[in-house]
């Protein structure tokens, strides 16, 4: 599974980091880093994080690379 975070929309609420700490990471207090290709055992967490993002900044797709978004 691939994910893309629209960093223009992301407001660094960090909900995703709480819900999927292996996939998303906060550097300092406001910079969000993420793993674009989600390992199999983290997919459910990544989906929960996408659903909970307050500004819906996380896009998930089974095979799509960043270019398709």
């Amino acid at each position: 599974m691939q994910i893309v975070v629209d960093l223009n929309r992301c407001q660094a609420y960090a909900q995703c980091v709480f819900l999927a700490p292996e996939v998303f990471e906060l550097h300092g207090e406001e910079t969000l880093m993420f793993m674009p290709t989600v390992p199999d055992d983290q997919q459910e967490r990544a989906r929960r994080a996408a659903a909970a993002c307050p500004v819906q900044a996380i896009l998930t797709g089974e095979q799509a690379g960043p270019g398709e978004w």
């Binding site: 709480f18 906060l26 307050p54």
Partner: protein
């Protein structure tokens, strides 16, 4: 009815089960001055803007009339960050976040998942053979209480004491001071003090004998901002304990009620549990646990929708009305568990947006996923159920459900 009585009508217990027609009046009337001098806002964009407006304070000391805020602590005690403004709010929130979440502790909430699942399963096991269940007493309340106590490091044996104090504190919070008796108010202040003392003592014990809980981390692992003072720790740990008690219970209960009222959504979520995270966001919009924020005050005159809200006046933001604003959400009165555009106000917004939101989400997602299969042969015993008194933390006091015959 006149818009200047809306606050009175929202507070009126007779409207607790269905306040939504009143919220529709808020949408029509914009910002309204109430006959007691407070200002009510229930439209989405205005609430969101005010929650991001540095001229709006959460510190009740900015009120012109101190009688408009419930008295919750004695002179000289520290204040919890929910009632402070930046930079003090930011400093305390940052120190408290360090042992709770990212960037310093990104795994604590995720690591609670297994515990939460096990607590849910144990509670549900105890209900297996019953024909009548009170969802509040037997499931929705014990779960978050157990979890927040475990997170902070409160021993299981002390949970009943915490529970009793929390009840007194909540009973003393009402939107209109004067409406509840002096006695109830004092019981609330005393319970808060007892809880704070208890947490102070517990953190002292963790100082000498640390464990892997959040209180131990708070006293041992201070970051660049330094540690909390003992008094700050007492006030803010009390805040976490109370917030962890009295909100998630409403979300789980409202979720159960809403699914029992919407059989199609019930079947869909029971069969496709992976849709639950989004459904929980919709519950936070459609039936939020916190209906209004009664504690804001403008520090200077502020104009909103052609109304000037004077400096020092009580400003009440009705989050639950903003969540149903037709100018923001399509079909706002429809429960749509797959709703995509859903930037609800259930956890507030801006600098005070809910600290515990990730924990509340994880708990409620797990709880409802575990509960739904058990509801198969149950129906609501009463609809509407009896509600708690509070118009702020609004939710059912009991949610009795009964087994349907023939199964």
């Amino acid at each position: 009815m006149p818009p200047d009585t809306l606050r009175e009508r929202i507070t009126d217990y007779a409207n607790r089960a269905d306040p939504y027609p009143l919220y529709a009046e808020l949408h029509e009337n914009g910002v309204t001055r109430q006959n007691d001098g407070s200002y009510l806002v229930g439209t989405y964009h205005e609430i969101a803007a005010l929650l991001h407006d540095p001229r709006i304070s959460s510190d009740s000391r900015h009120r012109t009339d101190p009688e408009t805020v419930p008295r919750i602590r004695r002179e000289g005690q520290s204040m919890a960050f929910i009632g402070l403004d930046d930079p003090e709010h930011d400093r305390l929130r940052r120190i408290t976040m360090r042992p709770f979440g990212p960037p310093h502790t990104p795994h604590r909430i995720d690591a609670l998942r297994a515990d939460i699942t096990r607590i849910c399963d144990e509670l549900l096991d105890g209900l297996r053979d019953k024909d009548r269940i009170d969802i509040v007493e037997e499931f929705a309340y014990p779960l978050p209480v157990t979890v927040i106590c475990r997170l902070l490091g409160v021993p299981q044996a002390d949970v009943p004491r915490i529970h009793a104090w929390a009840n007194d504190i909540i009973a003393s919070l009402d939107v209109t001071p004067g409406r509840i008796g002096e006695h109830q108010l004092n019981a609330g202040v005393e319970a808060r003090e007892a809880m704070a003392e208890y947490l102070g003592d517990l953190s002292d014990r963790r100082r000498t004998a640390p464990s892997d809980d959040m209180l131990s981390a708070l006293v041992h692992d201070s970051g660049p901002d330094g540690p909390l003072t003992r008094s700050e720790l007492m006030a803010n740990a009390t805040l976490l304990l109370i917030a962890g008690h009295e909100t998630t219970v409403n979300l789980i209960t409202n979720g159960t009620l809403t699914f029992l009222r919407h059989p199609d959504a019930y079947r869909q979520l029971r069969d496709e549990p992976e849709l639950m995270p989004r459904a929980v966001e919709e519950l936070l919009r459609y039936e939020p646990p916190v209906h209004l924020l009664p504690q804001r005050t403008p520090v200077t005159d502020v104009e909103v929708c052609d109304v000037t809200i004077p400096q020092g006046a009580p400003l009440i933001l009705v989050l639950a009305a903003g969540n149903r604003d037709p100018l923001r959400f399509d079909h706002p009165d429809r429960f749509d568990p797959a709703r995509e555009d859903n930037q609800h106000l259930g956890f507030g917004s801006g600098i005070h947006s809910c600290f515990g939101a990730p924990l509340a989400r994880v708990e409620t997602q797990i709880a409802l996923n575990a509960l739904l299969p058990h509801l198969e042969h149950f129906q609501l015993a009463e609809d509407p159920p009896p509600y708690r008194r509070s118009p702020i933390l609004r939710g059912p006091r009991h949610l009795p459900i009964t087994r349907t015959s023939g199964t």
